[in-house]
């Protein structure tokens, strides 16, 4: 039995739960949608969600109710909801499970959100590699349409909600909400300059809300059990549960739903079963690849937005990557940078040019060709990327580099001094570009 009450993963934890519409309805599904359509006004729902303290589960942790309230009330044209299911952050795989195993939970949340913000059209932008997820969602949507849970006049309320699945084509940047909008519009996925924000000029320049899968999946529960109940879970301004994806050198990697605010120590040593081979912990990333690395000294920090931020990292997408003692930090940083360099969209100068430059230096250091001044150069380059880019990708890509230098400078120095990687003495790497 799990230590904490499951909310989002509850249904799928039941033996034999298929995720079909029938199964979901038997578990009480779509009652929340019916309730809001019949009894609650959109303004009511927004208020309720605000009261619950629900914050975006995609990475930024923006208060969901507040985001919704930015949608102009008197807008005459169309409004849109886009569900961000482009889960591509390395080490994060929670949305995938929520989609594949219990699709109706997020679909119900999506319908509730549409009603709350007055959107009749919703898109689910799903990561291109999620073949199964897309198929499951398509099937679930068809089931729901047949049961008139989507389409016209839901529950006789006169409310219409249409939803369709839009599959990505393999670009990480399309998880950035405005790049996602561009991609749905059929254009090259690259972030837009902000302002204007999507709430005013979003998809096809109409007011648009973009919410993460897990965020939407929480909505039926908030409606069913009330904002107070939701707010009672977690600590401080981080309410509710959170599904964390634990990966790396632990005994039991996987998705774990826990109340916000459990400590990293509990997460790694208790819930995920401890370090693999009981080796000492060296470092961990608390919130997906773009979150700065942390050290064992941070183990007692609670997993909530504020505490992690205060400690110099971020809760991000909830992907916890654990590294044991024998992990080469330069290699780890390089590995992450390879990802970011590959995924940089190329739109703005600092990220486009900087990511390759940083990666080349990391390659050299890891291969034993480091030079004096490389570490300072890395810091300098990162400083010139950070805060100067079109989107948050700039901050994301420098996070692992700057934090690894901050916490493990000596290891970088050792690579340069000894002209070889202490962990991979024979490393040969391919050319960057």
């Amino acid at each position: 039995m799990p230590k904490y009450e499951l909310v989002l993963l509850k249904n799928m934890a039941q033996p034999g739960y298929t995720g079909s519409l029938e199964a979901y309805r038997q578990a009480g599904g779509y009652a929340a949608l019916e309730k809001v359509l019949k009894e609650r006004t959109p303004a009511d729902i927004i208020e309720e969600v605000k009261k619950s303290g629900l914050r975006g589960r995609g990475g930024a942790g923006f208060p969901t109710g507040l985001k919704w309230s930015f949608i102009p009330k008197d807008h005459k044209g169309l409004k849109y909801l886009c569900c961000n299911a482009d889960e591509s952050e390395p080490g994060t795989y929670k949305d995938r499970q929520l989609i594949e195993r219990d699709p109706h939970q997020m679909l119900e949340g999506l319908a509730i959100c549409c009603y709350a913000i007055g959107a009749e059209r919703a898109y689910i932008y799903i990561r291109g590699e999620f073949d199964l997820g897309a198929e499951v969602l398509e099937n679930a949507i068809q089931e729901a349409y047949r049961a008139n849970l989507f389409g016209k006049d839901l529950f006789g309320s006169g409310v219409n909600v249409d939803v369709s699945v839009h599959r990505g084509a393999g670009a990480y940047i399309c998880g950035e909400e405005t790049a996602l909008l561009e991609s749905i519009e059929g254009k090259r996925g690259k972030p837009r300059i902000k302002p204007p924000f999507p709430a005013i000029h979003g998809l096809y320049q109409e007011p648009t809300v973009i919410n993460n899968v897990e965020t939407l999946a929480n909505l039926p529960h908030i409606i069913n059990r009330g904002a107070e109940w939701f707010a009672s879970i977690g600590i401080g301004k981080s309410t509710g549960t959170r599904v964390f994806s634990v990966s790396g050198h632990v005994k039991r990697p996987g998705n774990y739903e826990v109340p916000m605010g459990v400590t990293l120590r509990e997460m790694i040593y208790d819930i995920a079963g401890g370090m693999r081979g009981d080796k000492p912990l060296k470092a961990f990333i608390p919130g997906g690849a773009s979150a700065p690395m942390m050290k064992p000294e941070h183990l007692d920090i609670p997993l909530d937005f504020e505490s992690i931020k205060e400690a110099g990292s971020m809760l991000g997408s909830g992907g916890i990557t654990v590294m044991e003692e024998e992990t080469c930090i330069v290699w780890a940083a390089m590995n992450l940078m390879e990802f970011f360099h590959h995924e940089s969209c190329g739109q703005c100068t600092p990220c486009r040019e900087g990511s390759g430059w940083v990666l080349q230096i990391l390659h050299r250091i890891e291969q034993g060709h480091g030079r004096e001044g490389d570490i300072e150069q890395l810091e300098n380059l990162c400083r010139r990327i950070e805060g100067k880019t079109v989107c948050a990708f700039g901050e994301a890509e420098v996070g692992p580099i700057l934090s690894s230098i901050k916490h493990f400078r000596a290891e970088y120095e050792q690579h340069i001094r000894e002209k070889c990687c202490p962990f991979h003495p024979n490393a040969t790497l391919s050319m960057v570009h």
């Binding site: 300059i193 940089s344 969209c345 600092p350 486009r352 430059w357 100067k388």
Partner: protein, 867 residues
Amino acid sequence: MSSRITLKINDQEVTVEKGTRVIEAAKLAGAEIAHFCYHPKLKPDANCRMCLVEIEKMPKLQTSCSTEVSEGMVVQTASEKVLDAQKGVMAFLLGNHPLDCPECDQGGECQLQDFAHQYGAMTSPFGETKRTFEKTYFGPLIEKEMNRCVSCLRCVRYCDEVIGSNALGSMNRGSMHEVGAFAQQELDCEFCGGCIQICPVGALTSRVSMFDYRTWQLKKTETVCNYCGDGCTLTLETVDEDIKRVSSETGVGRNGGDLCARGFFGYGAVNHESRLTRPRIRLNNNDLEVTWEWAYQTVTDGLKAAIQTHGPKAVGGIISAQCTNEEIYLFQKLMRESVGTPHIDSGARFGYINAIAALTDVFGTARLSRYEDISEADCLLVFAGDMTETNPITALKVKDAIRNHKTKLFTVAPYHRKRETYISHLPHLATQHTEISMGSENAAILGFTKAILEGTPSPHTPSDLFEKIKFAVNGISFDQIESATGVSEQAFKDIGAGFANAERGLIIVGRSILRGIEGYQSMLRLAELSILSGQVGRPGTGILALAKESNAFGAVEMGGTPEFLPGFQSLKKEERGYTALEMIDAAARGEIKALYLVGENPLRSLPQKRVAEALKQLDFLICQDLYPTETTALAHVVLPGASYAEKSGRFTNHEGETQKIREAIDPLGNAKPDWQIFSTLINKMKTTEKVPYQKLLGYASVDAVWKEAVMAMPQGWPVLLGSKMQESLAAYAARANVTWLAPEPFVKNGAFDLQVGQSLFHSGKMSTYATGLTTLQDKMMVLMHPEDAERLEIEEEELVQISVEGSDAVIELPVKYSKKLSEGTLFISEHFALEIKKMLPFTTDSTTGVPYGDRGRVSLAKVRVST
């Protein structure tokens, strides 16, 4: 609420319009902010991150190109933080940039070079392997050197936001990002050269002028293009007496700095090796190169001999509408005053006279609409489906209106809507496109007239005119109109109502009507349509007739046609001389004995056999031209004139806008500006003494000629549509003879309907001397719909035989597929199409004598390869 905003930039207060970007406000405050992706023509993209500035109360640096000013904003453009960020961006941009400035055509006018000089460090911290791309080409004219690219996307955005072509896009990601044509295909676009011009660095350069100059050697002369009637300002850039390239300045001229392929790549015609550079005379069947003195003497002797023997009316003159106002004025003066003949005509005869004559008849002036009216209009009714090809920049104004002013566009043309390649096609962009049968433009005008008449005609229509139109239209049914046009009553009614009920509606008319059968009458009917719709006499309304030649409007205004003296003084029928074709026929009859042709080649532009017979009868033929032609080969005297690049003067474009052209280079060889030739001849005709021509005191400058020309216009200059419109309209309404005949049904009989027309890449014959343009198109092709081709099992590039009923001549041409053509129609561009024009039926306008021979029914068959 005030629309002015006051902010502080570097401690200096500045007040600007609301909506101004910080980068623009800073410029006003005297602080130029370094930038690459920003361009005043484009929407902000904020991708280069060079223009970051510090704004009080904002935690991060902001891109000044995308940030709008707000009241009380405090901006620092040169603080330590800002300079550091700029240095950082420079370091990033220079990191992978090659050190090839010495051989880069952009060197000396490169933004990267300039800003590196200003902001860059002396040394680079970049110590890694550089990223390299192979050099590639965007088709035949544009070189792409991605190593130099700063990925600012100005080219891509210009192609999308301004030209609307979308031929360019981004490929690949991150540091391997490249600009290019879709899927690396060869570029198949309008070749406007805008991407080359807007590139801040040397990533996109012209292959036509590759390595021909260093930018600081270039002498720049702002002038007006001579390839069509759009009247675009461009800058000829020269080294010594050679045009090396063309550029245009953002926002300058009627074109606002945008050009087309002809304007940007067509300059090569000027310095072409085949130019005529010395006067020649034919003496006892010998072709002699002579001095100007000799040539002038021969011309005056020849003209005087003709006058003496046969009287002044035995002399005729035809001048090209690509000559300047001053030249046309002087030529008509030479003909009318020095010689004393009324027989003077110009290139305006080849269609444009239909517009000028009809509009002047109705409204008292042909200056009805300007480009500003296109953007002010709510609705455009366009009878020019090929406007991108004939008048690319006017088409650009239309595209701009649709895109940025929410203007509705109704197109009427014998084309499909479908666009192919990346060349804009107005029917494709239209709110509603009416596809008519080929040659049924007139019936379509009738359809709209009837629809508006039965709908909501303007109450301001003069009642007598209204009754006349009603009477004329009466008895013709929509069924009859549909059988001719293929367009339903409902479509006419929808579009008619859309146009008539628009707040401001403008008609644009192109060669399909001006050079269609009975174009003069069609223009009168269109004028009546605009009156009936109430769409004339206000901003955003009127009729804009598209001119093919750069000075077609001016040619008529300067008196270069038999029906008008300078200033559109209409001559009575009996005072009028012959039109171009009438002169040819008069020569054939032996009535005209001496003919003076300036830049005109009737053997090409009029029925060849008829002209050849006539020219043989002449005693004296003078040809003044830029290039040797079929006609100069027959001339007794050949005078080398100067191209637009070698002289000063004025062109009047089809808006009626008169603009100066300026001499960029000296006339080639011994060629002379045409106005100087006429000036000398006018003086020489006066005197019987043998005085060296240099001693004859001619006009001091073109300005002196212009002054005289304006003085010769009793109504003053220019005549605009003003208070006189009502008067003119009333007079027209009273005398108008509105006739509508029931249109002939359009019957398909399995034959093809062929249209000869203009290509985007050529204009007349001159453009075929420009390598830049011949690289894009150097031969005659017949365009046909792929479905027709498939039916006849004809592959692309395959040769077909085209023949016309009643003629045994057959021509063979390669086929090119075109999805924008209607099935059953063919298109051949005229620039290489001498043979085909000989075969097509030829008629002339019953009023204006405009020659028509662009259309015909033809048979097409595969060329059978004998085995």
